[in-house]
Amino acid sequence: MHDPIRLPAVFFRLRARLLAHIDVPLLLIVLALMLCGLATVYSATYDGNNRVFAQFLNMGLGLAVMWAVAQIPPQKLMRLAVPLYVIGVVLLLLVFLVGIRVNGAQRWLSLGFVRIQPSEILKLALPLMLAWYFHKHEATLKARHFVAAALLMLVPLALIAKQPDLGTAILVGAAGFYVIFFSGLPWKAIGVMTLIAGAAAPLLWSHLHDYQRKRILTLIDPTADPLGAGYHIIQSTIAIGSGGAVGKGWLNGTQTHLEFIPERHTDFIFAVFSEEWGLLGNAVLLFLYTLLIARGMMIAGNAPTLFSRAMAGSITLSFFTYIFVNMGMVSGILPVVGVPLPFLSYGGTAIVILCLALGVLMSIQTHRMLVKK
């Protein structure tokens, strides 16, 4: 029935269609990371409510989203910048006015059938908006443009920080700042801002919520409150430290399986990974992340327009920020902030947002020739 000669042609066509606008090195790195993620989620949840299949579906959805976004040329993406940003800010305002309060924080918005967290939208919408803005004014970039960009950034940031959600505010702020940085923010201005930030730190401290201050104090001395705020850090550092050079082996982490690690399939998943795979595993994971970032930097370096450069640079450094803040928190050198570890932590929203960003990176990489034409 089949024509044996024509099959390869179909196959090649299909492969070509699937891989159209896909950056294969980036894809391979991400697939390797996702594999690590699945193994660790399995270990963290198999003796309870096993989440590995759900995470597998999340990743599938994420990869589909990535593929779809990668097909969109950057110019079209640019057109989404303003509407996305406006929608995001409006939703944040709605959260501020009529949001749902969970555990003392007003972060969610109910749309009747589903709850959404608008601050997640800003993780991409803000850098998009800023990159579009700088791209538009590329030729006549002046100081006032940076001031305007700062305002564009501060409005959503203030709304997110007010919820309060310091973790997301830092991530969104970082993503926005990276765009401004890559758009040419003068070094002098960076220096001045650093000085001002340093001087404002005490002021900021006095505006922090008690639980936020506690997290920072806990970092300095986790043993001060071993069963309260310090518990997370103490248990996760014990998990990492007891993992040793080569780890206790997959599924053999006692800290994990005896439930000493809190949030072990989400924000603290690195403690699970580190306990079971040891320093060796950590080095491999850091190496994979380094490859991810390096590939992102290459894409940014090859990007033809300011928009695509700034976007690629911002996305890449955002990945880094997630990784550093999460690993730093779990290993006890940064305060506890709710940031997932990219491609390892369980969670559909996080995976989809990360894949969206990957899609943007791939779109930038694979559409640059078209732009040059």
Binding site: K142, I240, S274, T290, F320, F324, G328, S331
Partner: protein, 632 residues
């Protein structure tokens, strides 16, 4: 100003951007290097420390409480044992509303107001993280009902526990004592003895009697189970187990048959009896009546039970054998007579004339017998219990000489019995009086004080145990053994028996013919003297001496019609040994307000001897000989 000109000129724009990318990448690598350094620090340098902490997280030592040793009498009759039963226990710190929880529990398990009361009392005495019993001895049905509803009661659990049980109830309770829940004082004592580790998980300890004295022998060695626990403290699995070593068993010198007969012989009279095996010092019976049921104390005594025991005018909690001090009355006379012979103040044949009184200065000391006993030698002085003979003797000997002699028999010093807390009593002497009183005019010893010492009155005050020990020493020809209740200790593992060697305390240098004279006179008491009626028709020869101790102080006692008359009666005493030629048993009996010794104390001794020597079991109180008098 650099900021005023256009910042981006297309040509150098790309280079500038790439420089910034390079700077970023350098920062990324630096940050990752910091992370890697942190991992090396945690996973290589501090690995041992964190491994230990992970192990400590994971592994918990659960103590296993050893079975407490069993106590049996000399014939193997069980006096204290353990049995396993289910208890319903609450850990107060894990329970929000305690009262509401107990209310809800009472719908599943029968919880009486008395159980609540006892629980509240335990709660006051304990730390809130301890697991405290609200109900003990649950029925199987109650256990099943609770198990089905367990999820509703966090912090409430059914535990299989070992309980102490005293199967004979009140019999010998003053000797055995009881165990109770460990309180703060007990904990201090355990800590002082460096036994704290061995008491992890244990919640009972010997409080009094043998249970207390032999606590460390009976308790055993705690075992441990290494268990893996999760973050919630739930046991996941057992890793290793070190079995506990059960406590060692005690075999007593007590004879429960004898003990029961002696206790019953008292009827509802108050008093004490101590029976000793003269050749070893082993105690055959240790009676203090009224007594109490030690089973009441094991899980915290109920308040009303405690009040009843504590407020009773009969003082059932008082161990009269060790802590009651009484003047020995005429039972002191054989010892006085022996002292006279040993010091050379009298010979056996030397006689005095008793007109019925002894004049000392202006004071006249009366004899019980009107008109006196006439010509009285030593034999007659004991057989008929002549007071005048001993007034004179005491006066002739002097207090120092009497005190020196009596000290050898253990009068006025602790016997060293293996139960804590015995009283010292009073062996009167000028030094004692100086120590006892504060005001100088009270401290002086008067020669008149000495006279009544001779008949066992005055300041004389001894415990029934001391009296029994002195009698046993006399029966044993002056060789004194430490009185003891434990005959041997059986190792719970090897079954090896460690005999408690009879410890000779001293051999009093007494001339055999002097001892023989006194013993002969005491046999005379039973044959033809004050003890004759009580021992009429006895199939063995025994020696004894009756005594009557005056109850002189009624100050502070509440007047109660009927009772006052009874409490005014003298205490009745009897000391004895049997068989006379080769004594196997020596005893001292005291009946509070029993009247004359011959009247109520001697008949008790008769029942005890009859059982011990002939195996006769009367099963009832000893008859009172209402017509008995001291001078009979």
């Amino acid at each position: 100003m650099s900021l005023r000109r256009p910042l981006v000129n297309a040509s150098d724009n790309n280079d500038r951007f790439r420089f910034r990318l390079a700077v970023s990448m350098a920062l990324v690598l630096l940050a990752f290097a910091i992370l890697l350094a942190r991992f090396v620090h945690l996973q290589v340098i501090q690995h041992d420390y964190y491994s230990t902490r992970a192990e400590n997280n994971r592994i918990s030592l659960a103590p296993i409480v050893p079975n407490r040793g069993v106590i049996v009498d000399r014939n193997g009759v069980v006096m204290a044992r353990n049995y396993s039963a289910f208890t319903l226990e609450i850990t107060p710190s894990k329970v929000g509303d305690l009262e509401a929880t107990i209310d809800e529990l009472s719908q599943l398990v029968d919880i009486q107001p008395k159980d609540r009361k006892r629980f509240r009392k335990l709660l006051e005495e304990s730390k809130t993280f301890e697991s405290l019993p609200i109900r003990t001895r649950l029925s199987d049905e109650e256990v099943a009902r609770f198990a089905a509803n367990r999820y509703r009661f966090p912090g409430v659990e059914v535990q299989a526990r070992l309980f102490r049980q005293y199967p004979l109830g009140a019999v010998a309770s003053h000797a055995i004592g009881y165990i109770g829940r460990i309180n703060k004082r007990d904990l201090e004592w355990i800590t002082e003895n460096e036994q704290l580790a061995n008491y992890k998980g244990a919640d009972h300890i010997g409080k009094i009697g043998l249970e207390q004295k032999y606590e460390f022998v009976l308790h055993g060695q705690s075992g441990y189970e290494q268990v893996e626990v999760d973050a919630g403290g739930r046991v996941v699995r057992s890793l290793s187990r070190t079995s506990p070593v059960d406590g060692n068993n005690l075999t007593l010198t007590l004879d429960t048959g004898l003990q029961e007969i002696a206790e019953k012989a008292f009827g509802n009279r108050r008093g004490a009896l101590v029976a000793i095996e003269p050749a070893t010092g082993g105690i055959l019976a240790l009676v203090s009546t009224p007594t109490y049921d030690p089973n009441l104390f094991i899980d915290g005594i109920r308040t009303d039970d405690w009040e009843q025991l504590n407020n009773s005018p009969d003082k059932p909690m008082m161990n009269r054998a060790l802590n009651g001090v009484y003047p020995p009355g005429s039972t002191f006379k054989p010892f006085m007579a022996l002292a006279a012979l040993e010091t050379g103040k009298r010979t056996a044949g030397q006689a005095i004339f008793d007109p019925g009184y002894f004049n000392f200065g202006t004071h006249q000391f009366r004899d019980d017998k009107k008109g006196g006993h006439g010509v009285v030698d030593m034999y007659k002085s004991i057989v008929e219990s002549c007071d005048t003979y001993y007034y004179m003797l005491a006066n002739d000997m002097g207090i120092e000489s009497i005190a020196r002699f009596m000290d050898q028999f253990g009068f006025g010093s602790r016997t060293g019995i293996d139960i804590e807390g015995e009283s010292v009593g009073v062996l009167p002497s000028p030094e004692w009086k100086k120590r006892r009183f504060k005001r100088p005019e009270q401290q002086k010893w008067f020669a008149g004080d000495t006279v009544s010492i001779g008949i066992g009155q005055g300041y004389n005050a001894y415990t029934p145990l001391q009296l029994a020990q002195a009698t046993a020493t006399l029966a044993n020809d002056g060789v004194m053994y430490r009185p003891h209740l434990v005959r041997h200790i059986t190792d719970s593992r090897t079954g090896e028996k460690t005999l408690i060697e009879p410890q000779p305390l001293r051999t009093i240098p007494l001339k055999p013919q002097h001892i023989a004279t006194i013993k002969r006179a005491m046999v005379g008491v039973v044959k033809e003297g004050t003890g004759a009626r009580a021992f009429a028709g006895a199939a063995y020869e025994s020696g004894g001496k009756t005594g009557t101790a005056q109850v002189f102080s009624l100050k502070g006692e509440k007047y109660e019609a009927g009772r006052i008359r009874e409490r005014l009666r003298d205490h009745a005493l009897y000391v004895a040994f049997a068989p006379a030629d080769q004594p196997k048993i020596a005893l001292a009996v005291l009946v509070e307000n029993g009247g004359f010794g011959a009247q109520s104390a001697a008949p008790i001794a008769r029942l005890v001897f009859d059982y011990y020597l002939l195996g006769k079991a009367p099963n009832g109180p000893a008859p009172e000989d209402a017509s008995a008098t001291e001078e009979e």
